[in-house]
């Protein structure tokens, strides 16, 4: 019996040795691996003991503040929700997103470039203090954009065409980051995707708003002038297919300016084939299509625009037949664009053809008060010659003054824009409007997209753009 008892004891010891070996594997061997798992939010929770830097609007008001409760800091949003998809959330349970994630090192004072004091603190084992980040977002404009989108699905992006500063970035439907943890299940299952940052992640067919790109290419390559004459019969037959106008309209003789004013598909289809695939795609690339806009946000949350297949972004060299080129020239044919990219198109025209690098950080101020980082506007791309930009500027003014975009006209401010209406297979439309103003000295460039609407871009999107532009131009200062 004693032998059997000893054996059972040995089995028990073996089991406990297995426990200790497994524990060693978890706690010593794979400790870092566990710490790095995305499901592991312990790192975030520990950082909640650090006073997180504030996120400020361009006017200095607090968008996301830090509130201390029993030793931990929480985000508070004194102005309510301001660009929650861009600013992002900071949650123990669900991690971080947007700017909260991208600038986490600065906000928690862990960034290496926060100055001498931060180093001293670290060496002495003091808790770091987060730096505050002032954004280029102008809360008044942002709120106007959010108000314009309330009850709708879509996005509004406002840029400063001269600097590339992001003035507003609204996405609807929206969410309240203050209640994120309670609402998570509902938000993450909502088919309207309220957590999605549509301005940089939403891919939509640009429809006729894309004609600005086609026009740029045509004018810049000398294939057309604003006065080049075309004749529209309602149908442009090409390569065994045809391009037709929205609503079956027939315009007869028209010059190129008129074709943009009334968004005549057949004329743009013809211009597309005057250019050919290579020149058209090349102009797209010069606006930033086919690459990820250099807006610093977490991986995967800024997506490139361009021609897409089911498997993702196609190569710029992918083959297109003349019919496809004709449809691409009117913004169809698998071309998808983010609202940000379309705002960059408007901004490029507004800024004499030079596309500025988009950014949202105005400055980073360390806890000591020292400014450790300041925005430095830089040119990103050259989309066209200055002369082309001037011609297009005038043509786009005609759209607002006499064409499809009259709903965007403002008293005393000359707006230049282009509408777009992309028909979805399900009978609903995507309504676009891209614009800049004032036309003679552009201060703002804007892209508005409304999903699931029965109206056109001129009806659904243009009035919203007008309201936001009006608010933006009324601000005492813009970035």
């Amino acid at each position: 019996m004693n032998k059997a008892i000893s054996r059972i004891f040995i089995v028990g010891v073996i089991l406990f040795v297995a426990l200790i070996l497994n524990l060693t594997w978890i706690m010593a061997g794979r400790a870092q691996w566990f710490a790095d798992r995305p499901e592991n939010k312990r790192g975030i929770a520990k950082e909640m003991k650090i006073k997180r830097g504030d996120i400020l609007g361009y006017d200095g008001s607090t968008i996301a503040g830090s509130l201390r409760r029993s030793g931990y800091y929480y985000r508070e949003y004194p102005q309510g929700t301001v660009a929650p998809q861009l600013v992002g959330y900071d949650s123990v349970r669900y991690g971080r997103s947007g700017i909260e994630d991208e600038l986490n090192d600065e906000l928690t004072g862990q960034s290496t470039d926060l100055g001498v004091q931060s180093w001293i603190d670290r060496i002495l084992g003091r808790k770091p203090k987060g730096a505050s980040v002032q954004l280029t977002l102008v809360p008044a404009v942002q709120k106007e954009a959010q108000k314009a989108l309330s009850g709708l699905k879509g996005a509004i992006v406002v840029l400063d065409p001269k600097t590339g500063a992001l003035i507003a970035s609204a996405s609807a439907p929206t969410y309240d980051p203050a209640n994120l943890e309670d609402d998570w299940a509902r938000l993450s299952n909502d088919p309207g995707a309220p957590l999605l940052n549509r301005p940089t992640q939403g891919l939509y067919p640009p429809g006729s708003a894309f004609k600005v790109v086609t026009a740029t290419s045509g004018l810049d390559n000398g294939k057309v002038t604003p006065d080049t004459e075309f004749i529209d019969t309602g149908t442009y037959v090409v390569f065994g297919g045809k391009v037709t106008n929205y609503g079956g309209a027939v315009f007869g003789p028209n010059d190129f300016t008129t074709a943009l004013t009334y968004s005549i598909n057949t004329t743009f289809g013809k211009v597309g084939n005057l250019l050919g695939r290579k020149r058209l795609i090349s102009s797209m690339q010069r606006f930033g299509f086919y690459q990820t806009p250099p807006l610093p946000l977490p991986r995967g949350t800024v997506v490139p625009s361009g021609r897409y297949s089911k498997n993702g972004l196609l190569s710029p060299d992918a083959f297109m037949d003349p019919l496809a080129v004709a449809w691409a020239a009117v913004g169809q044919e698998q071309i998808l664009s983010t609202p940000l990219q379309m705002a960059l198109v408007a901004a490029g025209v507004a800024n004499g053809g030079r596309v500025m690098k988009p950014y949202y950080t105005q400055q980073v101020v360390a806890a000591s008060g020292a400014v450790v980082q300041k925005a430095q506007p830089a040119q990103w791309l050259v989309a066209m010659k200055p002369a082309t930009a001037s011609e297009l500027n005038i043509m786009m003014q005609r759209v607002v003054n006499a064409g499809t975009g009259t709903a965007a006209a403002l008293e005393g401010i000359q707006v230049a824009g282009k509408t777009g209406t992309a028909e979805r297979g399900d009978g609903s439309n995507l309504a676009w409007f891209i614009a800049f103003a004032p036309a003679e000295d552009p201060q703002v460039a804007i892209a508005v997209i409304i999903e699931d609407t029965q109206s056109t871009g001129g009806e659904a999107a243009a009035p919203l753009a007008a309201a936001v532009i009006k608010t933006a131009l009324a601000q005492p200062s813009l970035p």
């Binding site: 054996r7 028990g12 406990f16 297995a18 200790i20 010593a28 566990f34 592991n40």
Partner: protein, 440 residues
């Protein structure tokens, strides 16, 4: 040095270690001073001192290490509970007091464990009754039915059933071991005892299957089935019972995985918790993250990251089933391995008592209790570290919970009685032998 002086010395050491742990927790949150902190120290020290005095007078020749190990484990548990939820430490202290009371009662009423052999069938009935009562009257908590709510308390009857069943089996198997171990025929060359002696094995198998299906708990069924198989083996030294028992349990577990959704859930999340990171695998993964975060040395008692800002623990049920994760986080690999070694030490003393015991019943009783204690520890630590599927079982003396601490203190009392008798029979004075005989 006498056994009791050794015990006292180690109790003092255990007291010193737990005081340090407590001071560390206290310093970690020194802004909170309340009466819990004072009651904690006083209750704890006096309880174990009184138990020591009792043992000194009633069971002077009992094993000197069990009580200090128990005290140290209880101190670690109480400190960690205080760390996680100070208010619960007070309750746990009260349960410790109740447990100490039951310890005293056990010692005074039983006096000599040999008497229990006469009540083996009553014990068996009590054990079975407790399990059946749990199945019938139990409340489902976290998917498993292990609790009975009565008189404002939550009782986990299986903790007590464990003791009763071990007593019953020790008596029964000691009696029948000759019959059970004599092979009467061979099947495929394997010598087997008469078929009718497999009856108890089948009854136990049906019971464990019932526990799997009705209590929906893999751990409890594994614990009871293993206790039975291990005792059967120790009594008969026939490995065939282990093979058969293991096979039968595997079959029962397979049935349960197929039939009981909760068991199936536990099983799938054990195999791969990652797809269920925010649902059924949340608790297990948080436990692993918390343990891994401890590293080799740990953050120190009271300094780990165990509570969210709203005072919710990072792992649900941290103070009960997952207390080991908290200990591992704060004391690191060294501390966690140290705690495991304390359990090995406890188990070793138990088995040592069994090996030295002069009679079959004492041997089986001590070995059975030590085995049950060790296996329960293995099941919960293995569960929270994902070595085996997770089940809701307590870590003896450490987890928050009244049933666990009282039942396990009674277990210690029984082991002390066996060791006292052993030592008296083997090397005691005439006077001690006479006293022992009078008790019987």
């Amino acid at each position: 040095m006498s056994r009791r002086s050794i015990e006292l010395l180690f109790l003092v050491i255990a007291g010193a270690v737990s005081t340090m742990a407590y001071v560390s927790v206290y310093a970690g949150r020194f802004r909170e001073i309340n009466r819990v902190s004072i009651i904690y120290g006083l209750v704890f020290v006096s309880i174990f001192f009184l138990l020591h005095l009792l043992v000194r007078f009633v069971l002077p020749q009992a094993d000197p290490f069990l009580l200090p190990i128990t005290a140290l484990l209880a101190a670690i548990g109480l400190t960690e509970i205080f760390r996680i939820r100070p208010a619960l430490a007070l309750t746990q202290g009260q349960w410790l007091l109740v447990g100490a009371g039951l310890f005293v009662l056990t010692v005074f009423i039983v006096r000599d464990h040999m008497k229990l052999d006469h009540y083996r069938y009553i014990m068996g009935a009590i054990g079975l009754g407790l399990l059946v009562a749990t199945i019938v009257l139990g409340t489902t908590v976290n998917g498993a039915k292990l609790w009975i709510h009565a008189f404002g308390f939550s009782i986990q009857p299986s903790e007590f059933a464990k003791l009763a069943i071990v007593i019953f089996l020790a008596g029964y198997l000691n009696d029948k071991k000759a019959l059970l171990s004599v092979p009467t025929h061979h099947v495929l060359g394997i010598p087997l005892p008469a078929a009718k002696y497999f009856g108890p094995l089948l009854i136990m198998w049906v019971l464990s299957l019932a526990m799997l299906i009705f209590m929906k708990d893999f751990g409890m069924a594994l614990l009871f089935m293993s206790i039975f198989v291990a005792l059967m083996y120790m009594a008969t030294t026939r490995i065939v019972y282990v093979v058969l028992g293991g096979g039968l349990f595997a079959a029962a577990a397979a049935i349960a995985v197929a039939v009981v959704p909760h068991v199936q859930d536990r099983f799938t999340t054990w195999l791969d918790p990652w797809p269920y990171a925010s649902t059924s695998g949340y608790q297990l993964l948080q436990s692993l993250f918390t343990i891994a975060d401890g590293g080799v040395l740990g953050a120190g008692f009271g300094r780990g990251f165990l509570l969210y800002a709203n005072r919710q623990p990072v792992v649900p049920d941290l103070q009960t089933d997952f207390i080991f994760a908290a200990i591992a986080n704060e004391t690191g690999l060294l501390g966690a391995a140290g705690v495991i070694l304390l359990y090995v030490l406890f188990m070793w003393r138990g088995f040592r008592i069994a090996v030295w015991a002069p009679d079959g019943f004492s041997k089986l009783l001590a070995a059975g209790l030590a085995f049950a204690f060790g296996l329960q520890t293995f099941i919960i630590i293995g569960g929270v570290t994902r070595l085996i599927p997770l089940t809701g079982i307590t870590l003896p003396f450490v987890s928050y919970g009244g049933s666990s601490i009282t039942a396990n203190l009674m277990l210690v009392a029984l082991l002390l009685m066996v060791s006292h008798r052993t030592n008296v029979v083997r090397e005691g004075s005439d006077l001690e032998r006479r006293r022992l005989a009078e008790r019987g």
